[in-house]
């Protein structure tokens, strides 16, 4: 696999704040690579370093094996979709999209053809003469996308591109972005704080926290084998048992996490009899909260007066089912379904 992007030992500080702390990552050609983390975790700074807007204090940025650390952004073959779209307010859609061609002095029919082509791909044909201020949020997003794609960059950087859109539009754009990425066969570096978005779209994810990368892996592995409690907690819904509770309740010498969909609620003695006690951890909990979520119930239990456990209880068959607060249940999950965590 060709290395599209390689960051080696990247450090960047703003005063006393370490924004990037020894970042190493590699993205292959054509990969959809997400930088995921809470706000202030360094993912956007990392994107700026890749684009060239910020110079790292130390480390090497390579794009297709070429060291670009000291090359200004206008000479790098990467393009960015900005969080606020950064459309030029004094230019119409056509001028915005054709900007990079114009600065390259590409003119005439070849410019027109390229602009028409890309506007068709992002479904903006006919909007040529509108100003950005006359467009909706979703349309601006498409202009920003078209503008950065028109040059067929080797790598496209996207800084929370869907953050400002409403849920329905966001889901639609997720599908479209993925299609465009397949169609253009270019590497996407996608910054987001939305773990659902990262899980559903990415080939691989780098989880950022406090300027460091905690884990780089495929969405499935990040979800099922989080490396530590931060990743486990940040990705999806999970319940974490710390070392002391794990020892006291289950005789385990390490902290662990368990996903809510893996927990079963054993309401009756008959239920309890159906499971193999060798393969399950079994404990008792008190219901502290029960929320209807459409396809399932989200039940929160308190175990041993200090551990919170979240359970997804499928509502197949009985949509009106619910649990009263303070009900006591026996709950269990397979020993193989837990993820042990390094603190």
């Amino acid at each position: 696999m060709l290395k599209a992007l390689n960051l080696k030992n990247i450090n960047k500080s703003y005063g006393l704040i370490k924004a990037l702390d020894n970042i190493n990552l590699t993205a292959s050609d054509g990969e959809f690579f997400s930088l995921l983390g809470p706000s202030g975790s360094g993912k956007t700074t990392c994107l700026k370093v890749i684009a060239g807007f910020e110079a790292p204090d130390s480390g090497i940025v390579s794009i297709f094996e070429e060291d670009v650390t000291n090359i200004p952004p206008f000479k790098r073959h990467v393009n960015t979709v900005f969080q606020d779209y950064a459309l030029f307010p004094h230019m119409n859609v056509r001028q915005n999209v054709g900007y990079s061609l114009k600065v390259q002095k590409i003119k005439g029919s070849s410019m027109d053809r390229k602009i028409d082509e890309i506007l068709e791909i992002v479904n903006l044909t006919g909007y040529d003469l509108r100003k950005p201020s006359e467009l909706s949020g979703g349309q601006r997003q498409r202009v920003a996308l078209a503008r950065s794609l028109i040059n067929k960059p080797k790598i496209l950087l996207l800084d929370e591109p869907l953050g400002a859109l409403d849920l329905k539009l966001r889901e639609k754009m997720q599908v479209e972005l993925k299609n465009i990425q397949r169609q253009f066969k270019i590497t996407f570096i996608y910054v987001t704080h939305d773990q659902q978005e990262a899980l559903s779209m990415s080939d691989r994810i780098a989880v950022f926290n406090n300027g460091k990368i905690e884990q780089i892996d495929t969405p499935a592995n990040i979800y099922s084998k989080p490396i530590n409690s931060f990743v486990a907690d940040f990705i999806g819904t999970t319940s974490i048992f710390d070392k002391d509770s794990a020892m006291k309740l289950f005789d385990l010498d390490k902290a662990f996490s368990v996903r809510p969909e893996n927990v079963v609620i054993l309401e009756t003695k008959e239920d309890l009899a159906t499971i193999n006690k060798q393969q399950y951890y079994i404990t008792n909990g008190t219901v502290t909260d029960c929320q209807f979520q459409g396809s399932h119930l989200k039940v929160t239990y308190l175990i041993d007066d200090k551990c919170k456990l979240r359970v997804f209880k499928s509502l197949e068959g009985n949509i009106n089912q619910k649990y009263d607060i303070n009900t006591k249940h026996t709950i269990a999950w397979r020993k193989s379904d837990i993820t042990t965590l390094n603190e």
């Binding site: 206008f74 900005f82 390259q104």
Partner: protein, 305 residues
Amino acid sequence: MNNLLDSFSNFSYRNKNFIFLSFLIVPLLWLGIVYLGSLLIFLGHSFFHLDGFTGQIVYEFSFKTLIELFSSPANIDILIRTVALAACVTIGSAIIGFPIAYYMAKFTSPKVKIFLFIAIMLPLWSSYLVRVYSWKLILAKEGIINWFFEKLNLEWLLDTILSTPVIGGPSLSISYIGMFLVFTYIWLPFMILPIQASLERVPNSLINASHDLGANKRQTFYKIILPLALPGIIAGSIFTFSLTLGDYIIPYIIGTSKFFIGQAVYTHQGTAGNIPLAAAFSLVPIVVMVVYIYIAKRMGAFNAL
């Protein structure tokens, strides 16, 4: 009584225009009658004329005064001289003011920015006359600029500059160069502040986006920063241009014996008592400004607003 107040408050809440109007009536009357009214009456005088024998104003509508204004070569000289100087001062202020405004808007910390704001505003807090007279001393033959050139053995350079026809003169303090320097100094804050405000509104992400799309610094400046700052530059130039067109103190203190519009107005309506001609002269800056703003608008200067 309480009931009356109550229903009045209800009425005024439901009828927002009533409240607006009651607040606006005084400023509107002031603007309409005292300000625009007197201005129009004064300008209206340009359609009257002075009787050549009696020296009395003839209150009859005619274009005699305007024809007199534009048919006399001396008057045309005054108009051209003033407009040319105002244009030079405007361009000079823009060239000096833009980098300062750009630095303030994009590169300073908030503390330095406040310091620069005060530094730019500070001269405006002192008397205009004092500042102009100080410049008279600075520019005089015995002044610091001359002294500086002497010390550097560059007197010949200054003399060459001063011997340039039209813009030169016996010393900097009696030349168009001197006037240009003083005007540029006096009006510079009015150019910097609007440009700074317009640049402040340009998000850095636009500049980043331009670089990202392959535009180098020069292209980014001409295609993004300058067009977006243009409304500010035009606003600033309206100040510097119109203020220079109307000023008569600097030409009086610094200038040569040749008249500018402001001096012409001053002389005609004062000693000569020729109010119609003074009014006709004052009409010129207004017409020039209207034409200027119209051209700026046609060229798309306000498209980025």
